[in-house]
């Protein structure tokens, strides 16, 4: 069986959930091989982690020389590994960086690229599902030339444990000078909020302009449900939340089991980021708000009274 390369998404060596999802998808398509580009001292732990999700082989690339540069060196590393492994597909997480690596790799390998897949199945080769035009269409597609390069959105699969051999292969990548042209001058890690990661959370509670700038009621409600907190662009543009919280066309796409929109009108660009949520709930004082067209359950009311009361009731139930 041919190898399917999976670029492992991690933070300082700590493997992120989307990587396990990709390994699970890779198993449908062939033999999963993980590619870990990261700090040498974190490699052992990463190898152990990906083995548990079926990685038969792990290509380990020490990133000492490349971590100061943007995406280009990672694309070169993948090109080199693909050259020796002749994989039947290459899977990358659909993050901003992941998509750019995929784009560069597609040019290098002269291969077709599909981004933002929400599902990948084996149908005589990888067949992707994309949700396009703000979620109004579902598109199935295939790569017809070269090595299929596919970026997959978080939550596209449920990670399944299965032991892989995890045979380690150290790869030393020879980088071109041109890959080092864009430097990372400074980097500030995102502070953890203690809440679940937005794109991975099972429940997302978000607030918009209707919060009037005070997110505490939205946050308390989220905490009662163990949810991640999100925001509309209006809330972000007003400086009430950092851009990392934004959901929508130019923010994050979420696809949780439950999405609760509070004081959000439901503009098409916001819908683009949450329309595929399994259950949608809205609290909005305007019964004409377009968000109500999408909801499984809606409350026409003032979020400043509805949310605190609901939070109290949920906490009381939990005892």
């Amino acid at each position: 069986m041919s190898e399917v390369l999976v670029l492992i998404d991690h933070v300082d060596g700590a493997v992120r959930k989307p990587a396990y999802e990709l390994l699970t998808i890779a198993k449908r398509l062939g033999e999963p091989s993980a590619v870990f580009i990261g700090p040498a001292e974190a490699a052992d732990a990463a190898v152990e982690a990906v083995k548990k999700y079926g990685a038969e082989k792990v290509y380990v690339v020490d990133d000492t020389e490349i971590k100061g540069y943007l995406v280009a060196p990672k694309a070169e590393a993948l090109q080199q590994i693909a050259g020796q492994a002749s994989p039947s597909a290459i899977l990358i997480t659909s993050s901003a960086e992941g998509k750019e690596i995929a784009g560069r790799l597609a040019v290098k390998l002269d291969s077709g690229v599909i981004t933002d897949a929400v599902d990948v199945q084996d149908n005589g080769g990888p067949e992707t599902t994309q949700s396009v035009f703000a979620g109004s269409y579902t598109v199935r597609a295939k790569v017809t030339h070269g090595t299929p390069i596919i970026t997959v959105k978080p939550n596209a699969a449920t990670p399944e444990e299965s032991t892989g051999a995890g045979a380690v292969e150290q790869v030393s990548v020879s980088l071109s000078d041109s890959a080092k042209k864009a430097q990372v001058v400074a980097s500030q890690p995102r502070e953890s909020s203690g809440r679940p990661e937005l794109t991975e959370a099972a429940i997302v509670v978000s607030g918009g302009r209707g919060t009037g700038g005070d997110f505490s009621e939205v946050e308390d409600f989220a905490d009662a449900l163990g949810a991640a907190v999100g925001a509309s662009r209006a809330a972000v543009d007003s400086g009430w939340k950092p851009h990392a919280f934004q959901i929508g066309q130019t923010g994050k796409t979420v696809s949780p089991q439950l999405y609760v929109a509070n004081g959000i009108s439901g503009a098409i660009q916001h819908r683009a980021g949450m329309q595929t949520s399994k259950n949608i709930v809205a609290v909005n004082k305007d019964e004409e708000a377009p968000i109500f067209e999408l909801v499984d359950f809606g409350v026409v009311g003032d979020l400043h009274t509805v949310l605190p009361a609901a939070t109290e009731k949920i906490n009381a139930r939990k005892g």
């Binding site: 280009a72 901003a96 750019e100 077709g112 430097q183 995102r190 409350v299």
Partner: protein
């Protein structure tokens, strides 16, 4: 900058599963207005603005000239529209190939400025592909652009960190919608745009073979495009004296979220 179907209208697909671009009015991709704005600001903030020329480049069908015109009205100095029937149906690889060839033909380019994504395909790969093809550094997804001479610094909000990136021109930049609101064309700008130089190039002008682009040379194939069934509206209650919170909590409990 790309000419795209209006994202707020209902999209349709053709029988060959390409986007039906006639079904929906087209416009300059809103996210590319931010790119035009930042390009104009680079000109205005540079030491010698008169020596800096902003060229608006668009690859697209005949109507796409409207996107170029909009950029000229905003203040770009010159327009290039690459139009050729063989380009229709191109994938990202082919699009970036045509764009790279056009940038090369345009000559002495210091900054290739792009938007963060088109509002139709929304892949966010074209700027990286351009950097790869042109062998230039990429400073992409910038929310802030700063420069001194040919030294550029940008701020990029990543998934797990916020980074400052640096590179020396020539380079490829892409800017997000956090980079600053785009200006509206003034009446003066609209009048001035009519006299600005505009060129239309074909594939032949770029030395790109028609066989390398278009639907037949796309290395991804759409097999099906199905309209998502509209969501059926669920129950909606009006809050009165706390009834809203009670009903909300009951709904959440019935779905086992609490």
């Amino acid at each position: 900058m790309k000419y795209v179907p209006d994202a707020t209208a209902d999209q349709k697909f053709e029988d060959d599963l390409t986007v039906d671009r006639a079904a929906v009015p087209g416009l300059l991709s809103e996210l590319d207005e931010y790119a035009v704005e930042q390009a104009l600001q680079i000109k205005e903030k540079s030491e010698n603005p008169e020596s800096v020329e902003v060229t608006a480049l668009c690859v697209g069908p005949a109507e796409a000239v409207d996107a170029v015109r909009k950029a000229l009205q905003m203040g770009a100095d010159k327009g290039i529209h690459v139009a050729d029937d063989s380009i229709a149906g191109s994938d990202a690889l082919a699009t970036s190939k045509v764009l790279a060839a056009a940038v090369k033909k345009a000559g002495d380019v210091d900054v290739v400025m792009c938007g963060m994504a088109s509002t139709d395909g929304a892949m966010s790969v074209v700027p990286a592909m351009l950097a790869e093809r042109l062998d230039l550094p990429q400073l992409t997804l910038a929310s802030v652009v700063e420069f001194q001479g040919d030294q550029f610094r940008v701020k990029r909000d990543g998934d797990t960190s916020t980074d400052v990136l640096g590179a020396t021109a020539p380079l490829v930049l892409s800017v997000t919608d956090q980079s600053g609101e785009a200006r509206y064309p003034s009446f003066k700008g609209i009048m001035a745009a009519k006299k600005k130089p505009m060129e239309t190039w074909s594939l032949g002008d770029l030395g790109v073979d028609a066989g390398e682009v278009g639907l037949s040379a796309a290395w991804t194939k759409v097999e099906a495009a199905d309209a998502r069934p509209p969501r059926t509206q669920g129950e909606i209650v009006t809050d009165e004296d706390g009834s809203g919170a009670t009903a909300l909590v009951e709904f959440l409990a019935s779905k086992k979220f609490i």
